[in-house]
């Protein structure tokens, strides 16, 4: 994954609270391999409505989504993040996010930028009926839209991960000896925590 620090792109306003991951990607699309791309599943069933903000020609090519409270609540499906990323989004701006969604977002280079409710509302007002560019600097925690400038606080752990484009599996390898030591101490000290295998051979 490639990291990023600043991004400027077209923003689209979706002023709805509680956009859950079932809406971001309905379950019926999740059996597809990622290689086929998930972008066209994004908010699929809400887009049946021709007035839906993402159907507006001005939203074409948008890379920043401004939405409502508790964005990405519900199911842990990372496919919700795939749909946003594959549709070209780099950041979602909202007053709050589902916890699992945020983790998944950061693991895929998508920034969950949290602003105060009134700041998000100001963005929605500025973006109503016109396409505008938003600039983000995740390291400095600055967002700019025309005259508007807001500061935001992204968890430093997330910032670093987004900036470096870190992959956890690679990082964790550096701890291999500590993990191995923990494992052997655990087997001895918490033998009850290790399941007894059943006699039944189930693998084949």
């Amino acid at each position: 994954m490639t990291g990023w620090t600043t991004h400027t792109g077209r923003a689209v306003s979706l002023p709805i609270d509680g956009i859950d991951t079932d809406q971001i990607i309905p379950a019926r699309f999740m059996s597809q391999p990622r290689s086929k791309g998930y972008g066209h599943f994004l908010l699929h069933d809400l887009r049946d409505d021709s007035d839906f903000p993402l159907n507006n020609p001005a939203a074409k090519g948008a890379s920043i989504l401004v939405s409502g409270r508790n964005f990405g609540s519900g199911s842990s499906r990372e496919a919700a993040v795939y749909a946003l990323v594959d549709a070209g989004f780099r950041a979602v701006i909202a007053p709050s996010f589902g916890d699992i969604f945020s983790s998944n977002a950061v693991n895929n280079g998508l920034a969950p930028v949290q602003l105060a409710e009134e700041e998000v509302n100001a963005l929605h007002r500025a973006l109503s009926n016109r396409a505008m560019s938003v600039s983000l600097d995740i390291q400095k925690g600055r967002l700019t839209l025309g005259e508007i400038e807001f500061g935001f606080h992204l968890d430093p752990v997330w910032t670093q991960k987004l900036v470096e484009g870190w992959d956890d599996i690679d990082l964790t390898r550096a701890w291999a000896s500590k993990i191995a030591a923990f494992r052997s101490a655990d087997r001895a000290g918490r033998d009850w925590a290790w399941p007894k295998r059943q006699a039944k051979d189930t693998a084949h």
Binding site: P26, S31, R34, S73, D191, W192, A193
Partner: protein, 460 residues
Amino acid sequence: MTTRQTLLDKLWSSHEITRRADGVSLLWVDRHLVHEGSHHAFAKLAERGLSVAEPSLTLAVADHYVPVRDRASGGASAQIRDMISRLTRNADAHGIELLGLDDPRQGIVHVVGPELGLTLPGLLINCGDSHTSTHGAFGALAFGIGATEVAHVLATQTIWQKKPPVMRLTFTGRLGPGVSAKDLALNWIAKLGADGARGHALEYTGSLIDGLSMDARMTLCNLSIEGGARFGMIAPDATTLNYIRGRAYAPQGCALDRAEEAWAKLHSDADAGFAREVTIDASEIVPIVTWGTRPDQAAPVTAAVPDDAPEALEYMGLRAGQPIAGTPVDQVFIGSCTNARIEDLRAAAAVLAGRRAQVPGLVAPGSMEVKRQAEQEGLDLIFIAAGLDWVSAGCSMCVGMNGDLVAPGKRCASTTNRNFRGRQGPGARTHLMSPAMVAAAAITGKITDVRPMLAGREVA
């Protein structure tokens, strides 16, 4: 050792391999549960040529896509059958035990883990499913993760996490007749909001929790995520130990003695501090029903539909001010990791016995073991005599991945966990409620207060 630790502190420190300068901990994972939806994670492993670090701590369960009616078909469509066979192939390739379609122990992953004794107090349990908090009912550190994290756990048997603050939710008082753990959960979520516990681990305590069965505790912990909490937990006690003893994978003999000694310490110390504290007197709680498209859009069955969410009401086909009770339903569903354990089925059967449903419905037990037990108790005959379909175990109509969908515009009284738009199918209208309340809705064809219907009946 420092004193004044919370249950979360104790669970966290016993799994912490290291902590980075930025405060993020690398935690050891004791149990990793995977299902058909984990295909993205297996694909990530394959891409990088990695193997599974601890196949013996991993269990694969087919649940999200499995057919509950025609098992021999292997799935409702080629795409669905492929999801199930992909899980089989991945489990085989990595030497992971699989509870597949034809395994007598198959069921919903969050029902099967506890049932087999794989879920134990003091364990860290991960699964690529947000309802993994269910296992917290045993005093385990259990939380749902996304596909990238699933791949990480598969490859390393560890996970990076920052310790969340703890919110203690204390329930006092007693549950009235016809009121269940589902009503407790919908009550607190409606009070605090669908993001009310966001960013927190929840610990449920109080005299009322002490008196709950494991099935009821699992329902409560299961729904933690619907109030925004990734973790829900209850300290283990005698009820927990009685449930665990003798289960297939549970420790036995001396190992059990050592385990029980460790488990006895798994509770928040009396003077431990919590980031937030909420106390709810449950005596006032009546059966609750959701009226909107989020789990916090819920109200007592005796209330009227509120007027604060016009879009939700339009989707649900409801008018503000109309009484919730009396709303006609088209069908019912009893199932899911929230409410398809044996006690849930008993509660529904107690209402349905000797009565006939006015609308069609599906009863999908949480596991094949629950199915067998229900059949031993004759509950299947009650459901069938009432006119409901008695089928096999799986997630089924809770999420519709196996093709069991509610048709557009149709209204379903459901024991499940999410009333999101389109959750049970495009355009489907879901009302969440307890198993007893769903049974009452089946009988009258309308959303109905179950309490008067319990008169003179033995309630489980």
